[in-house]
């Protein structure tokens, strides 16, 4: 019996393809992975990601050619359970965690993953951001209850890493449809200024500078300082800030910034970092929507995998990553979103144009979960 499959080229959107392949059961073949590059083939962090996929699934077949430029991935069934994974420090844990967030509700057993590696870096959404934005988002899709938790045990900054994150998630058979069309108004801003292996004073300096900008809009701002010491501080020094704005309707928009890794680039001033991060948050607010730009694809995926009902979601402008994700969703699930632009009136002063995404769920049901 020949199952269906898809073929892609290049290593971009690598995670999307594997995740969607796993969920849809279609095999995927990725060719020409960095075939013209100086260092061709899959890189260490991608190999590490494949290993993680192998750990959480059961019966997955992975074939990689000798140079690593061709990958064949035949998905198995999502198994879950206790997983420990040493994430490659080239990418932060967020890289791996984003995929886990997408897959975790559809496992056979509730996932309890311990990921070790870099918790915060400049490329990927950090663990702090995912904790304050993705977890509430999942709750709005009916994935809640006891087990849903993301806990930062240790922090680790690039290049050394050494952080540790615990992610637990309960399993669901079906996902609820949502109608998130009204983001509400931002009522409070929270944040975490963290610093490891540097002076604890740096965190306070970040907080002050960030507040100075955000105070123009809202008084309810609280930025926690998180200074980790000793064994919990990882292997490399660094600091950063993750901000989140909560709206009256329980929507979260986030922004974050981390310092340059040790030995790369010029050292950053904490004040600059705080200011820039606050501005990033304002940018995010300008974009608006019910889900911030990093979680767009997660929300869209859950909408796709919902029951056969209409889901609606208001987003800011679609990020390139999300746009590609939408194409991939169409490839794997044959689901297209109705995309409507909601123009803002000139005098409304509520940021840029919003996009209303509407789709009919695929009627996906968790096939791994045991019937009791």
């Amino acid at each position: 019996m020949a199952s269906q499959g898809l073929t892609y080229e290049g290593c971009n959107f690598f995670r999307q393809r594997l995740v969607l392949s796993t969920l849809s059961g279609k095999w995927v073949k990725i060719k020409n992975i960095r075939s013209k590059d100086d260092s061709p083939g899959l890189q260490d962090f991608e190999a590490s990601f494949i290993r993680l996929m192998d750990k959480i699934t059961n019966g997955t077949r992975i074939e990689i050619n000798q140079t690593g430029t061709v990958l064949y991935y035949q998905p198995g069934l999502l198994f879950g359970g206790q997983v420990e994974h040493e994430c490659n420090p080239q990418r932060s844990i967020g890289y791996y965690l984003e995929a886990l967030l997408m897959l975790a509700p559809f496992m056979k057993k509730p996932l309890r993953a311990v990921l070790r590696g870099v918790t915060n870096d400049q490329k990927d959404p950090s663990v702090d951001t995912l904790k304050v934005t993705s977890i509430p988002l999942m709750k709005s899709f009916g994935i809640d209850g006891e087990g849903l938790e993301l806990k930062i045990m240790k922090r680790g900054m690039p290049p050394g890493g050494g952080g540790e994150v615990l992610f637990t998630c309960p399993v669901r058979r079906t996902i609820r449809p949502v109608q998130l069309t009204d983001p509400g108004k931002i009522k409070r801003i929270r944040g975490t200024a963290y610093s490891v292996r540097v002076s604890p004073q740096i965190a306070n300096r970040i907080v002050d500078s960030a507040r100075s900008i955000l105070n123009k809009f809202i008084p309810d701002i609280y930025i926690y300082t998180d200074h980790m010491k000793g064994g919990n501080a990882g292997k490399s020094p660094g600091f950063g800030l993750a901000l989140v704005a909560e709206s009256t309707n329980g929507m979260f928009l986030s922004a974050e910034l981390a310092s340059n890794p040790q030995g790369q680039g010029s050292p950053m001033l904490p004040e600059d970092l705080g200011c820039n991060c606050a501005k990033l948050l304002l940018e995010e607010v300008y974009r608006g929507g019910c889900v911030d730009s990093t979680n767009q694809s997660l929300a869209l995926l859950y909408m796709t995998l919902g029951q056969q009902d209409v889901s609606k979601l208001l987003l800011g402008p679609l990020s390139p990553y999300t746009r590609e994700f939408l194409r991939h969703i169409r490839d794997f699930f044959q689901i297209m979103f109705k995309i409507e632009v909601q123009k803002q009136e000139d005098e409304s002063r509520r940021g840029g144009d919003k996009v209303l995404m509407t789709c009919m769920g695929a009627g996906y049901a968790n096939i791994s979960k045991t019937l009791k």
Binding site: S24, L77, Y95, K123, R330, K338, M360
Partner: protein
Amino acid sequence: MEAKEQKRHQRKQSGPKAERKKSRKQRAPGAEPDEDERRRNPRAFAVQSAVRMAKTFHRAQDLKTKKHHIPLVDRTPLEPPPVVVVVVGPPRVGKSTIIRCLIKNFTRQKLGDICGPVTIVSGKKRRLTFIECGNDINTMIDLAKVADLVLMLIDASFGFEMETFEFLNILQVHGFPRIMGVLTHLDSFKNNKTLRKTKKRLKHRFWTEVYQGAKLFYLSGMVHGEYQAQEVKNLGRFISVMKFRPLVWQTSHPYVVADRMEDLTDPETLRVDPKCDRTVSLYGYLRGTYLKNKGQVHIPGVGDFAVADVSFLPDPCPLPEEQKKRALNQKERLLYAPMAGVGGVVYDKDAVYIDLVSSHVDQPQMRPTAELVQSLIGTHATLDAKLAASKVSLFSGAAAMTPGEQQAPLENRVWDPVTQRERRKAVFSDDEEEGDGDESYEGDEEGQSEQGDDEEGLQGGDEEEKSSGARESKVGEARRGQDEEEKAPRVKRQRLERVEAKPPVEMPAFADSEDDLEMSGDDGEQSEEDEREGAEGGTADSGHCSEEEVDDDDEDEAEDDNEEKQDGKEEEDDEEDDDYDDDEDSDMETEVTAPVNISKPVKAKVSVLSEEAEEDDGDAGELGNESTGALRWKEGLAQKASEAFLRQQQAAPNLRKLVYGSVIEEQNSPSDEDADEIGGLFRVSRPEKSRSRRVDAMDCSRFVPDSPHDWDQEEVLNSIRDCFVTGKWEESKDAATLLKEDEELYGDFEDLETGEVHHGKPAKEEDSEEEVMVKEDAEEEQKKKRLEKKRRLKERFDSEYDDGDATYFDDLKEEMQKQAELNRAEFENIDDEARVQYEGFRPGMYIRMEIPGLPCEFVNNFDPHYPIILGGLGASEGNVAVSPLQGLKKHRWHQRILKTRDPLILSLGWRRFQSIPLYHIEDHNGRHRLLKYTPQHMHCGATIWGPITPQGTGFLAVQSVSGTQAGFRIAATGVILDLDKSVTIVKKLKLIGYPYKIFKNTAFIKGMFNTMLEVAKFEGASVRTVSGIRGQIKKALRTPSGAYRATFEDRILMSDIVLLRSWCPVSVPQLYNPVTSLLQPVGQKDSWSGMRTLGQLKRDLGLRNKPNQDSLYKPVVRTKRHFNPLHIPKQLQKALPFKSKPKQDQKKGKTPRHLQRPAVIREPHERKVAALLTALSTVHNYKTKKAKAEQHAKHKEFLKQKEREEMEKLKRQKEARKKMYRIMGQKEKKRERSSLKGSSKDD
């Protein structure tokens, strides 16, 4: 049915009933009785026990909650697909007859042979699809999965047959649709009492199988080969008002019961290789749920296939337009059965098919369509060469499907004489004992006679028709011929001719559809729009990254190019068409005009048609009134579509194209990739910047703005002011308005403590009094508004307050309701073209599925009597995994238990396939232990290598699908509980070793393992000896290899055997063999046989197992056991007490001769004396014995007498005592009375 004139109810004027009523009436005006009782006797209704009250309350609540079902979102389509009515029953029970009767009842049309699904319009809101289910178990399984209603026909003269019960079981497994039983052959009962009894017996048996009170219809007798009209009418009425339950599998999977099949394979490839894989398009109503394009389907009996294309067609059998009237008119009573040759002209995406009524030409009146085609057929032979040359296939496969070829093999199968078939009667112990053989014989006889009757009836019917021929519609007349023909070939293949091969007016691909429509719109608008797009790309879309803008521009250009190209192409096509049409026309003129007169108008028609087509094409290019081919048949739809499109266009400025359109561009790009070649051999490999940036870029979900705003400027800051709670709120949500609303509502209140009354706004009213006079209108309006608002608020308040007991359940229900409304409303206004892209094809649509790569046997051996079902597969349902089927149970009617590793045919999901199951049972510690055979009366698990199917899906297993077998065919049933790719089944493995050296509790064991490594793996494992001494493996020994040291709880013996009990995992055999019954030759569809079981193989090959010599039973030879004498040491002997001392004395031997006493021999006299003495003693003995007996009897008599006397004495005494007591009692009474008197006197 007219309401019968019923006798009026006569009220009773006298008697107890009238009295009772009168008294009740009199009492009524006072107060309601129950309330009265409560007031009159409040204690009776007081709380007696708090515990009991709590209990009653609990019970009431429990009962209430029990009634609840989990609320589901109502996903039934607005225009539902026809209801699938499956007619089941053993052969010769009257299935076809009942379908024919029902069709006649609903549509007033006669259908000869029921061939494939027949769809009719039965009412204003209901359509029915009738399918006849043959006796083949494959068909039964397939149809059970798609049936909404099952008409279960039972031959009352014979009773239930095994097939009926098998089918009921199949239904139970695959969801239980509605079932209606129909008893036929009731006219064969001569005796009224037996008829009644049989009816009752069958009804009760039917009820036990389905549910108590299940509907069973009785069709009493035949009139002219048809059932009685009134009874059929009643049955039809029941069918048309029936409600259906949603079945889980059906509601979660899209499926199509194909009612039309066309082979689209290129005739040239067909000619070159007649056995090539075929591309086939299948048509039918979509049922179940939304179907996504390009999905995977399973065709039961063929296999899994990827769908190349799905498109929707205009409904061939539409429901009547909305009209306010009660019944359907004749025009709306449609009948659609292309496989049976009914349906007239059928349209396809790119062709029109015209149904040829039948091959007989000498019909008095011909339908216009038939005429047309007849004339075309006349031209067929001469056109052949030209057609071949011009590469246009006018008649695809016309020559291949001559009726004679098709009918020959079918004939044999259908006309199986009744007597040859084994009827498998189901006999139950609770059935009345009847002569089994007799009855079957009787039945056979009846069958024969019936056959005769049938034929007679048919003829009679024909005659009747002839007499009333004038009334009959044309179609009816057309059918009649078939009826006559029916005796010879019951099965007839429809003959469809492909008349026109118009250039496909394609359903445009999605991204292009806009373009087409745009193009169809005015050019000016187009350019405007382009400009607008450009402007937006510059300003409004600042959120999107710049790269996309470039893309967009490129895309537009590309699109323009495409459009131009398309235009060009279309023009070319048109020209070609013209040529072609002209050619054809001229040809036809030359050919047709001379011989036949009728053909003139026909020709004209054809040409008109083609002209129309041209015009249409032209229109599509120029005016764009009608844009797609599909729209032509639905009037007004084009306009609707264009309106909807315009609306959409205004709303979404091509963001959709940005997301979904660029993929197409990307696919195109590699083709026009410029290749730098050096010397035609080598190519310069240089990293392409643009592509590699996209393809090999960093995979990151963060969206860093390319051109961030300058957040130091005030106006930029101001642009997001209102996103915060501190900013300005919308009018409706503003705090001030909300407060005011509250004030309006709750303004008036009374302080209960002080008794003060506060009024909301007295001042305002006073002020406004003057104004009221001035501006009455405004005030009136205001008032209305306020009232409206108040009403709304009050409603909300009421709903919140009064429904204090609004439970979680109610909330859930409301939520579902809302979701259902949203689902309906969301895509309602979009035209179907776009809508199918968003939500897939809706159930209820008539769709066409193009499936490539079907095996040629599917087309060659096509038999419309076997249903073709296209079952959509969900995500990852196309994959194979090991799936443990928990809760499998051998069916209790199946006679044999099932053996592990014997192939079994399972029906699971849509599929029927053969696989090799492993049976297992779960031990108390969660271990799945392999079983060799299924338990007889218990559930067990089974694990198979099979397709992924969602949990909770039922399945059934049969051992073979071929032919008929004795006994109940369904071997096992169960449900899927779990899917897994790793197997957890283990079987017990005992490793045996022998001690070769024994110390105290330690022993060296050999023979269990082969190497030290193996031992190392088992270090610490527990072992035991056969005698039950437990031990543990300690360490491996160097020599001999595989030996180890083990310790035991006691010293073991050299003769002991050491066992290591272990569990070894079992791998599941990877067999997945779909049952390809539809590919079998016609007439042999029920003879599919797959892998044989081991037993069958051995039987077939005549092999016998050579048993292990050691396992054979041999006579038991027991050696005599020899015990050594007990030796007690002398010292011990000495110390023992005498009693315990071993006795030295030997056994007493024979007495020595000299000690033996001599025998005494009597003298003759002595002998005489002895004899006399003996005689005397005998006499004496006798005498004493006699005396003793006498004495005994006498004593008995004496005892009896004594007892009698005793009794009398007792009686006497009793009497005396009684007398005495009476006297005493009287005395006592007297005394009492006197004392009472005395006391009363005292008082």
